[in-house]
Amino acid sequence: MATSSGTTSVAIPGQLLGPASKFQPGPGTHIHNANLYSSLLGVVHASQPAKPPGPAKRLTKITVPTQTPAELPTLSVSRTGVSEKREVLPEVGNTVLCRVTRITPRQAVVAILICGDTVLEAEWQGLIRVQDVRATEKDKVKIYESFRPGDIVRAEVISLGDQANFYLSTARNELGVILATSEAGNNMYPVNWKEYMDPETGLSELRKVAKPY
């Protein structure tokens, strides 16, 4: 991410940023009549495309140099410096942190708290269905052996979902419960991929445990 010099300027909605043939649209911009316009009030950033990794190899074949869209710098308008508040919508593929609010045999209802590295202002509701809890032995998954209300869960957004819920999945090793409270009310520590243990009572409880990073 290299910011080219002289491009950190202020943009207001509807401001012309440049022709669409020279820049790629990033967040906070839109294209109209083959031109790139700002759609947010904020600061313009131009990021150069990442160079291909590794040293340049000796040419073994001759290719026609083509200007692919990936080689264009991306212009984006961000709201850093305008206000600290930054509302984002969870998108498919994002990793979110959420708290379990309700469990039923078929699904766990969660409240999404953090999306990526942004603390959300509004409360968005998510749903982890029983078939999305883990990747293997899906038919043997029981929701009450995976989540309990009050647990903090790291999950991935797999769908925009229906009118009320985002659909989330914990079907990866590093996804699952990261913070759990025992029935006695103590914070527990993970012992293996499906168990948390209460340090005071010594009892273990079943969870879909997230692999520590």
Binding site: I12, H30, Y37, S39, E87, Q163, A164
Partner: protein, 286 residues
């Protein structure tokens, strides 16, 4: 009054009596007469970020015409959201706007109730139409945003009697202010817009001295003898698009191009208001 939850003030006008001494007669005598050129809008003050608890907010003040007893327009707008829709609402692939325009009870000569009356609902509908054309709605699926405009001072001459001037013309000025202030608040809230939208009013007025009616922009009803027709425009300057047009009144049939001229003047007024808006947004970031 259907509002039984609050202790309401007296219904009806609450204007102190104006004693008829020399000064007031002079004021009454000098009524009328526009102090600005026909194609100049009044000075306005716009500031964003006035309400810390809201996602975005703005405050707009338009100067008075300079005489005592005439109040300008004071508007405060708050934007809440984007936030999740209530559970009962169906799936929406785009953002759902809900606009509320409310006169403060003390904003106008005639005291307003706490509940929204039909004219305020009408303003809200017009405001929604004006903003919907400017917002990129599909950037925020499954979300809703509330836009609330409070009219703190309603741009009315308190010294004219109730029979003078028609309140319906004041709604036009109020709507154009609402559009401008809501646009600033939306930009402050970080909701994607294709352009900044601003409101402008043009009116066909006839004064006693003039032979034929003339077109002015940003009219103050109390400064003219009669307003024949008026139109309020919401206009996107860089796109050159009109998102809302509200026309009211009767045009003389003699000039067929009068309607187009009136709309053009409305666009001109809107473009002038937009310059203030752009300046204000620039200051917000800088």
């Amino acid at each position: 009054m259907s509002d039984r939850r609050r202790i309401n003030g007296p219904v009806g006008a609450t204007i102190p009596p104006v004693s008829e001494d020399g000064a007031s007669r002079e004021v009454a005598g000098s009524r009328g007469g526009r102090s600005r050129p026909p194609n100049a809008i009044r000075k306005m003050y716009l500031k964003t970020g006035v309400t810390p608890s809201a996602s975005g907010s703005a405050y707009l003040e338009i100067e008075t015409s300079g005489r005592s007893g005439v109040s300008g327009l004071k508007l405060s707008c708050t934007v809440h959201g984007p936030r999740s829709l209530p559970r009962s609402s169906p799936f929406s692939p785009h953002i759902i706007l809900s606009t509320h325009v409310k006169y403060a009870p003390f904003a106008t000569r005639q005291r307003r109730g706490y509940l929204r009356d039909p004219s305020e609902r009408d303003l809200g509908t017009h405001l929604e139409a004006a903003l919907r054309g400017a917002i990129i709605a599909d950037r925020w699926p499954k979300s809703g945003v509330d836009i609330i405009v409070s009219i703190i001072e309603g741009d009315q001459d308190r010294e004219t009697s109730k029979t003078q001037g028609d309140e319906s013309w004041d709604l036009m000025n109020a709507l154009s202010g609402c559009i401008t202030v809501a646009s600033a608040a939306l930009a402050d809230a970080g909701i994607d817009c294709v352009d900044t939208v601003a409101g402008g009013v043009a009116a066909l007025v006839s004064d006693k001295g003039d032979a034929s009616p003339s077109i002015v922009i940003d009219p103050i009803p109390s400064e003219h003898d009669r307003i024949l027709a008026a139109c309020c425009i919401a206009y996107l300057p860089t796109r050159d698009e009109v998102t809302n047009l509200w026309f009211k009144g009767d045009l003389p049939a003699s000039d067929t191009e009068l309607y187009t001229k009136l709309v053009e003047k409305g666009i001109q007024a809107s473009a002038k208001a937009n310059r203030v808006l752009v300046e204000c947004l620039g200051e917000t970031v800088g």
